[in-house]
């Protein structure tokens, strides 16, 4: 299932790798590099998904979960460099539907994104 993926990620290097990957899989990709950029977004269309980095230059990525939900971005998946149980628990209690540790193998990310959009 193809859809709209919002990548909230402050590293241009990582964001551009993710867009190449997800666009090749047929999705439309938008990028926000900060909390402020993400908050300036318009409401989500049907079949949309957010891949959310946790450490953003102007704040904690998890603080975006509720405001994004208000914009109907309901599917928020944390994409983090911290591979520890504490971070995982914090993301799930913060409202994320899943937590992935970077770098997520390319094929795995494509298949998971398809599942969440489905």
């Amino acid at each position: 299932m193809q859809g709209h993926v919002l990548v909230v990620e402050d590293s241009e290097l990582v964001a551009s790798a993710l867009s190449v990957l997800l666009e090749s899989a047929g999705h439309r990709v938008s990028i926000a590099g900060s909390v402020a950029e993400a908050l300036a977004l318009s409401p989500a269309e049907p079949r949309s998904l957010v891949l959310l980095d946790l450490t953003l230059p102007d704040g904690d990525g998890l603080a975006l979960v509720d405001p994004l939900r208000a914009l109907r971005w309901n599917n928020v998946v944390a994409l983090t460099g911290h591979d520890d149980p504490d971070t995982r628990a914090r993301c799930i209690s913060g409202g994320c539907v899943d937590v992935l540790v970077k770098p997520v193998p390319a094929r795995e990310l494509v298949s998971k994104v398809a599942t969440w959009l489905g």
Binding site: S11, L13, V14, A17, V20, L21, S24, G81, P105, A106
Partner: protein
């Protein structure tokens, strides 16, 4: 003379002075030393924090390198020729290896800064042994080693941080494989540790053994120390961060357990660690 030297050699400077003056000098030097130690500790903590920050930040560009490599390898942008595929696989493997090493430095730095926490769950040690054995199967095959995994039947589950115990096992087994020549034997055994008088709680004893090069007795403490490798010569036949055993010790100690080695040069090594079945705190 540095401040440290002046502390360690105070009597040489005290030739003609009175005992009171000598006491005053020593007290002044002691105060200076206390200040110096506090400064060094603060600087050490800063360096540890720097190491944690930089190793975390290194993961970001590595993530981009590996993801782009996998996009090419998986044919997402079109098919590659066999030679192109070989080259892209080299990029990915190099990136993954670097990522592991960066991860080890990050774990070390967090441990040194007391930023590692234990999240205990109840699990069977046998499952972790099997998982680590599966992960290492390709290397074991490549070196034509025999790997034996053996767990005493009916071991009670342990209450521990599963990922951290798996990390300890991965580091010990990784070393065993690395330092055992082709055709050798490597084994991992888990059993119930016999209770010593001082111990209130039963523990699981895990042994990781090999028929490899072995470690001389005078190096048994050194190998658990940070940044230490027994062979630190420029040719260093064995690579790595040199932090594997330091991390293993830290993770075992965070569980209230202990880790040690029995070995002689030329007669293989047996690393042991004990983790209580249930935590007391």
């Amino acid at each position: 003379m540095s401040r440290v030297e002046s502390i360690t050699k105070p009597l040489a400077m005290t030739g003609t002075t009175t005992p009171e003056a000598r006491v005053a000098t020593l007290e002044a030097q002691l105060k200076e030393a206390i200040v110096e130690i506090a400064e060094l500790r603060a600087r050490d903590a800063l360096k540890t924090q720097f190491l944690a920050n930089i190793s975390h930040d290194l993961r970001t560009p590595l993530t981009a390198v590996i993801t782009h490599g996998e996009i090419l390898r998986d044919g997402i942008l079109g098919d590659l020729s066999p030679r192109q595929m070989e080259s892209v696989r080299g990029i990915i493997n190099g990136g993954r290896q670097l990522l592991n090493q960066v991860g080890e430095i990050l774990t070390y730095a967090r441990g040194a800064a007391n930023q590692l926490t234990i999240v205990p769950t109840r699990f069977g040690i046998r499952e972790v042994l099997d998982q680590i054995s599966t992960l290492n199967a390709p290397l074991v095959k490549k070196k034509r080693l025999t790997l034996v995994i053996d767990a005493e039947p009916d071991l009670p589950p342990v209450m521990a941080d599963r990922e951290k115990i798996a990390h300890v096992l991965a580091n010990l087994l990784g070393n065993a494989i690395e330092f055992t020549p082709t055709g050798g034997r490597v084994w991992v055994r888990a059993s119930r540790a016999s209770l010593e008088k001082s111990e209130q709680i039963a523990s699981v004893l895990v042994e990781v053994g090999d028929t490899g090069v072995g470690i001389a007795a005078e190096h048994h403490d050194l190998i658990f120390r940070e940044f230490a490798q027994v062979d630190a010569t420029p040719s260093r036949p064995h690579h790595g961060t040199g932090l594997g055993l330091t991390i293993a010790r830290k993770l075992v100690e965070l569980h209230g357990g202990r880790i040690w080695v029995e070995s002689e040069l030329g007669s293989g090594s047996r690393f042991y660690f004990m983790v209580p079945f249930e935590q007391t705190d």
